[in-house]
């Protein structure tokens, strides 16, 4: 029955609205105007009729004094007579809604009451109660006159009920008073509906709007009572403060988030401290207050906060709406950019100083340089110009990655010559001992050859740079499983701490400020490596220990395991590229899937 109700509910946009719950809005990200009471009733009519009919059949064995044959006959009439007719007419009325269509629907609905009464011979009380519901329903649907018609038409049913139940003593009373009662009820219902529907719609819309804003806001939103107890806690707040809604609601805000300003903990015991801090600002609009807290991992978490009070009838604040923005990443990015400017300036200036110095010497009219010295100067200028070109190339590549402008073309690539050539090049240029372990049976990879070469080149460059003592560097290529191949680049250099391994793939990051001077570089090499690897549907990780060295592990897909989509459409769109039956199955059930890579 439930499935029937759900499918019936999808016959038109207004029917979808009926079934749209708070969660639907969350998931679909679609906010529709709240349907009117009439729309909701009309949409719910068919599913309700079907559920009611099946329930009546299921409840028929409970009828007192009715034979099994009568119960079965009732069930069969409802199943194969009333349900199809009611559904068919609901479909017609849905396509051509009019007051006449509703009048026929009324007749069909009343016929169910007649069938109940005649088949199950119940007391008329059952029919009277059901009839009141029908009157209310049609009054809401089409207004007071339709309600009156529904009420009068019910008289026939009531008369039949009284007759079959043999309760003659009630007959006169019911026949006289019932139409009056029904007319009054219809009048009252219509008046209430007219007055209430617009207000209800407005409140519903506001409610849904505030729910959608609260749920969908990217900032952490917390609503507290005037006594500092948390009453609302949105999804972003759960993420920002790493605290589920269930644990936050009802608790004091200082217990849950523990805010600080400078070195002082905020005290909310005598009112909202954020509001107090804001009141120091003279401008009208609330301004951000910079606060911080200690995150569950023990780190300082900088936040920008605002607070607004909701004032009650007595002019006192009844609720306070807080908004928090986690600016940890912004702070890090700001620090990283400052550091990058210093680093890049230094990295660019060093070769430029050499170039400028030698070129001035060569251009000086009274230079007394020998031909050998001139040759040395020209080589130095060439080497520094090459160094400059490399730095600028990396900066440009980093900018293109950031802007999403790199177009990789994966293909079937034999990586043996690429890894071999790069290792040989570094070995010759840097005079370092590089061991390559690459089995003959390593399969081809599904990668962009230029991007793969850049990845290995950067990792080798990194290994050389951070092992100034000259330790061995090893490159191992191995098959991980049926689907993937790993490339391990290991050095025995300075290594990294746990914190450094966590951050090393971030843009502009370098292990230590002093490393800029010790090792040079702009801090974007590993960022480029990570971006290229992930763009080729691979993954990268690192294991390192200070003073021991580092191992970078790149895992990339095998060419023979990737199903090429010859149509050019995204493979996941029609499931051919995604070989997991679980993912495929979820996709067909309507669960939204991310792209497979």
């Amino acid at each position: 029955m439930l499935s029937a109700v759900a499918l019936s509910g999808a016959q038109g946009p207004e029917r979808v609205n009926v079934l749209t719950t708070h969660g639907d809005v969350e998931n679909s990200g679609r906010i529709s105007a709240a349907p009117t009471v009439q729309q909701r009733l009309r949409a719910a009519a068919l599913p309700s009729r079907l559920v009611l009919a099946v329930l009546l059949v299921a409840a028929s064995p409970l009828a007192y004094g009715v034979t099994t044959e009568e119960q079965v006959r009732f069930g069969l009439i409802v199943a194969f007579g009333w349900i199809p007719v009611a559904s068919l007419w609901a479909a017609v009325a849905g396509r051509h809604p009019s007051i006449y269509a509703d009048a026929v629907s009324l007749a069909i609905d009343l016929s169910l009451l007649v069938i109940v009464q005649l088949s199950l011979a119940q007391s008329p009380a059952v029919v009277i109660v059901a009839h009141l519901l029908i009157v209310a329903f049609y009054t809401y649907l089409d207004g007071r006159w339709m309600g009156v018609i529904a009420g009068l038409a019910g008289v026939v049913v009531i008369a039949a009920a009284v007759r079959t139940a043999n309760t003659r003593s009630l007959a006169g009373f019911v026949l006289v008073t019932y139409p009056v009662m029904v007319a009054c009820l219809a009048w009252l219902l219509d008046a209430a509906a007219t007055e209430g529907s617009s207000a209800t719609s407005r409140v519903l819309r506001l409610h849904e709007k505030s729910d959608a804003i609260l749920t969908g806001a990217a900032e952490a939103l917390m609503v507290t009572t005037n006594r500092g107890r948390i009453s609302e806690w949105n999804r972003a707040a759960e993420e920002t403060f790493a605290c589920p809604r269930s644990k936050a609601i009802g608790r004091s805000c200082s217990d849950v988030i523990g805010l600080h300003v400078d070195v002082r903990a905020l005290d909310c015991s005598s009112g909202c401290a954020v509001l107090e801090l804001q009141s120091g600002h003279t401008s009208g609009a609330p301004e951000d207050v910079e606060l911080w807290r200690t995150s569950p991992t023990g780190q300082r978490q900088p936040l920008l906060a605002t607070a607004l009070s909701v004032v009650g009838d007595d002019g006192e604040a009844v609720e306070i709406i807080h908004s928090f923005r986690d600016v940890t990443k912004l702070k890090h990015a700001d620090e990283a950019k400052t550091l990058f400017l210093a680093t890049a300036s230094h990295e660019l200036k060093t070769p430029l100083t050499v170039i400028r110095g030698f070129s001035q010497m060569l251009l000086a009219p009274d230079t007394k340089m020998s031909p050998d010295e001139r040759q040395i100067a020209l080589h130095a200028i060439d080497a520094r110009a090459t160094q400059l070109t490399t730095i600028v190339d990396r900066l440009l590549l980093s900018s293109r990655i950031e802007a999403g402008q790199i177009d990789l073309v994966p293909e079937d690539v034999n990586i043996r010559p690429i890894v071999g050539d790069l290792a040989t090049g570094v070995r010759a240029a840097m005079a370092r001992d590089i061991t390559v372990e690459l089995d003959d049976d390593v399969p081809a990879l599904w990668v962009d050859p230029a991007a793969f070469a850049t990845v290995v080149d950067h990792l080798l460059d990194n290994a050389v740079k951070y092992s100034p003592g000259g330790g061995d560097i090893t490159v191992v290529v191995d098959v991980v499983d049926d689907d993937e191949v790993e490339v391990l680049v290991t050095d025995h250099g300075v290594g990294m701490t746990e914190e450094q391994t966590r951050l090393c793939f971030e843009r502009f990051w370098q292990a230590e400020l002093s490393d800029i001077r010790r090792f040079g570089g702009t801090g974007i090499g590993l960022y480029i490596v990570r971006s290229l690897v992930e763009a080729m549907r691979g993954r990268i990780s690192v294991e390192s220990a200070p003073g021991v060295g580092s191992t970078f592990r790149v895992v990339l897909p095998r060419a023979d395991r990737v199903v090429a989509d010859l149509t050019g459409e995204p493979a996941d769109e029609h499931g051919r590229g995604d070989r997991s039956i679980i993912r495929e199955y979820m996709r067909q059930l309507g669960v939204r899937l991310d792209s497979p890579g």
């Binding site: 029955m1 439930l2 499935s3 029937a4 109700v5 759900a6 499918l7 019936s8 999808a10 079934l19 749209t20 639907d24 679909s28 068919l46 079907l50 009919a53 099946v54 059949v57 299921a58 028929s60 064995p61 069930g75 409802v78 199943a79 194969f80 349900i83 559904s87 479909a91 191992v476 499983d481 049926d482 391990l488 290991t490 966590r502 793939f505 990570r530 992930e534 549907r537 993954r539 990268i540 990780s541 592990r553 029609h574 499931g575 051919r576 997991s580 039956i581 679980i582 993912r583 979820m586 067909q588 059930l589 309507g590 669960v591 939204r592 899937l593 991310d594 792209s595 497979p596 890579g597």
Partner: protein
């Protein structure tokens, strides 16, 4: 073995055995898929829940079928009807799964809402009401309630609820995609017809026509938590409150990249 069986009993036993084998096979395939994708995607609640369902529904039908063939259980006509009606969406769904396993689409798209699809709720309502009427005819008023059928009655509600969640997912997507997924709709129908099938099974078990021995009872008891788990997973996916293999490997990788140090399996030091 088949001598003395009525044609109804034979068909009930045959269809149930076939269903049991199909469920178990599909459970095995899902296990293999989970094993293959574990490294990339991690644990899948959806996969685990489906395996749990397959290995409780499968044994239930196998047990029912084998009782028909071996113990001579007298199959009821109501049971046969529910199986036959459930078989239609079941066969559609299973053929689509087979097609997907062979690298095909594994699904069909129905554009808009054609009249026959619009009539399906009415059909199922009539079918349910008719089935109840027929059940009333079948029930002996002198039958005493047997507590052993409680798991089956729970399964009626749970499977109907799962079908409803699956269908609501389709209903939610309908305005965005402008149509329906045959695979999704047929599975929702399968769950609903399964619910009715268990209702009829409970009816016959209560009347003593289907004797519930200890292994049948154990299978049905285990099926209840399995169905609860599947309901939780499907509802959570519908609400978007859990991330399963619907999350791309890259988002998982982004996490493992930054947390690689904690993942000893993923990082090998040479």
């Amino acid at each position: 073995m088949f001598i003395g069986m009525t044609s109804v009993s034979f068909l009930v036993a045959l269809f149930n055995t076939a269903l049991g084998v199909v469920y178990c096979c599909y459970g095995l395939i899902t296990i293999l898929d989970m094993k293959r994708g574990w490294r990339t995607h991690g644990f899948s609640h959806f996969g685990a829940a489906w395996i749990a369902m397959a290995f409780t529904c499968g044994p239930h039908h196998l047990d029912h079928g084998l009782h028909g063939f071996v113990s001579g259980r007298d199959g009821g006509l109501l049971d046969l009807v529910t199986i036959l009606i459930g078989f239609v969406p079941g066969v559609i769904w299973f053929l689509l799964r087979v097609e997907a396993l062979w690298g095909g689409r594994g699904d069909r798209f129905i554009s808009g809402t054609p009249a026959w699809l619009e009539a399906l709720p009415t059909f199922f309502a009539s079918y349910t009401a008719g089935l109840i009427a027929w059940s009333i005819w079948t029930v002996d008023p002198s039958d005493v309630f047997t507590p052993r059928i409680i798991p089956n009655l729970c399964l009626v509600g749970l499977y109907a609820a799962i079908g409803s969640v699956l269908l609501r997912t389709q209903v939610r997507n309908h305005p965005m995609i402008g149509g329906w997924s045959v695979s999704g709709i047929s599975l929702a129908a399968v769950m609903y017809t399964c619910a009715l099938m268990h209702g009829v099974f409970a009816l016959y078990a209560n009347s003593g026509r289907y004797y519930l021995d200890w292994h049948s009872a154990v299978i049905d008891v285990v099926a209840v938590p399995a169905a609860c788990y599947f309901l939780w997973v499907t509802y959570s996916l519908y609400r978007g409150s859990i991330r399963d293999w619907n999350a791309s490997p890259s988002s998982t990788v982004a996490r493992t990249t930054s947390e690689a140090r904690t993942d000893a399996d993923l990082t090998r030091v040479t």
